[in-house]
């Protein structure tokens, strides 16, 4: 079964609702990549990696507003 962008957006929104914590959200996204990477829809891979990379330094961090915007974008796609 394909892991869609909407599924990822739903999980990401849940993570964000638990609080804005860059490391926790990045670790969660990495877990999603490990568990569901094989069934990612083509557009999901780059979005997931964007979230995973948030842990790599301040230059990769997305603000809470950026993440919410990203969720809205991929939910509508």
């Amino acid at each position: 079964m394909t892991y869609t962008a909407k599924q990822f957006a739903l999980g990401l929104r849940n993570q964000l609702d638990m609080g804005y914590d860059v490391k926790r959200i990045a670790d969660w996204a990495h877990g999603e990549y490990l568990c569901h990477g094989r069934s990612f829809a083509p557009e999901v891979q780059s979005v997931v990696m964007k979230i995973v990379a948030m842990d790599e330094g301040p230059q990769f961090e997305l603000s809470e507003e950026d993440i919410r915007r990203l969720i809205a974008d991929i939910s509508g796609s």
Binding site: Y33, C35, R38, M49, A53
Partner: protein, 263 residues
């Protein structure tokens, strides 16, 4: 060797995690097993049942169980009698040394282990009585604990749920990396590195972007992955281990980030 030679009238000689006890219907006279109800109970437990801790249940004498069960009700006289009986047995168990009941120095090592297990069970009996009527629950809990230890000792590790999950993650990550790699690099010693598409930094600075790298060693089957950050010239400026053989790694960046250094 009969490791129960010195156990005497200890009722917890029903607990036999190693399945060493005699299963003969004719209990050997003069061997210290001088408590008839316990003998009768124990003789009904076969060696196979004793070896299989999932089926193994302690068998306490009915009289003891009824005392415990009656603690919550009955007349005042009965309650007083039950309380006295409880005190008697609680003191009886507490008198055993830490090394186990009636296990003497120089005895078989199995006997020592048995003694420790039996002591745990003894403590559970005391705890069970303390809680009033929970004796069987306490015993069962202890036996489950003992059983887990026993199975862990016999385990080859392949039964671990975590191992299956890690293997699934490992293979999934490798397959994903192989299917989505933007660049592949084969190292001279046979390792293969799959570089994911570079994610651009969201803010301007010395770091240009980062890439998720998965390395597979066909000789050993090991799969590792890390994030590689690149400088503006394309040089690797920082690495961050992420996964080894399907298990996520909580490791610092190399070199450490300002946040990790507390700056």
């Amino acid at each position: 060797m009969n490791v129960y030679l010195h156990v005497g009238d200890n009722p917890i000689n029903h607990i036999d995690p190693h399945g060493l006890a005699s299963t003969s219907a004719n209990w050997e006279p003069g061997q210290g097993h001088n408590d008839a109800p316990y003998r009768a109970d124990y003789s009904s437990t076969t060696r196979e049942e004793a070896n299989d801790l999932r089926k193994f249940q302690p068998k306490l004498p009915e009289s003891t169980c009824s005392i415990v069960q009656n603690r919550g009700g009955g007349s005042g006289e009965e309650k007083a009698g039950a309380a006295a009986e409880h005190e008697k047995w609680a003191n009886h168990w507490k008198s055993y040394p830490v090394t186990g009941p009636a296990v003497r120095a120089g005895e078989d090592i199995d006997a020592g282990n048995y003694g420790k297990a039996a002591l745990n069970v003894g403590n559970a009996i005391i705890d069970g009585w303390g809680a009033g009527g929970l004796i069987r629950g306490g015993l069962r809990k202890t036996l489950i604990s003992e059983g887990k230890e026993w199975f862990a000792a016999k385990s080859t590790g392949t039964e671990s749920v975590n191992a299956a999950t890690a293997l699934q993650s490992k293979l999934s990550a490798l397959e994903t990396a192989q299917q989505t790699a933007a660049r592949t690099r084969a190292l001279p010693e046979g390792r293969i590195r799959y570089y994911g598409a570079e994610t651009a930094a969201s803010k301007p600075g010395p770091t240009r972007g980062a890439s998720y790298v998965t390395e597979w060693d066909p000789k050993t089957g090991n799969v590792r992955s890390w994030m590689e950050s690149y400088g503006q010239a394309g040089d690797v400026s920082r690495v961050h281990p992420k996964m080894i053989n399907g298990q996520t790694v909580n490791a610092p960046h190399y070199p450490s980030t300002g946040k990790e250094l507390g700056l």
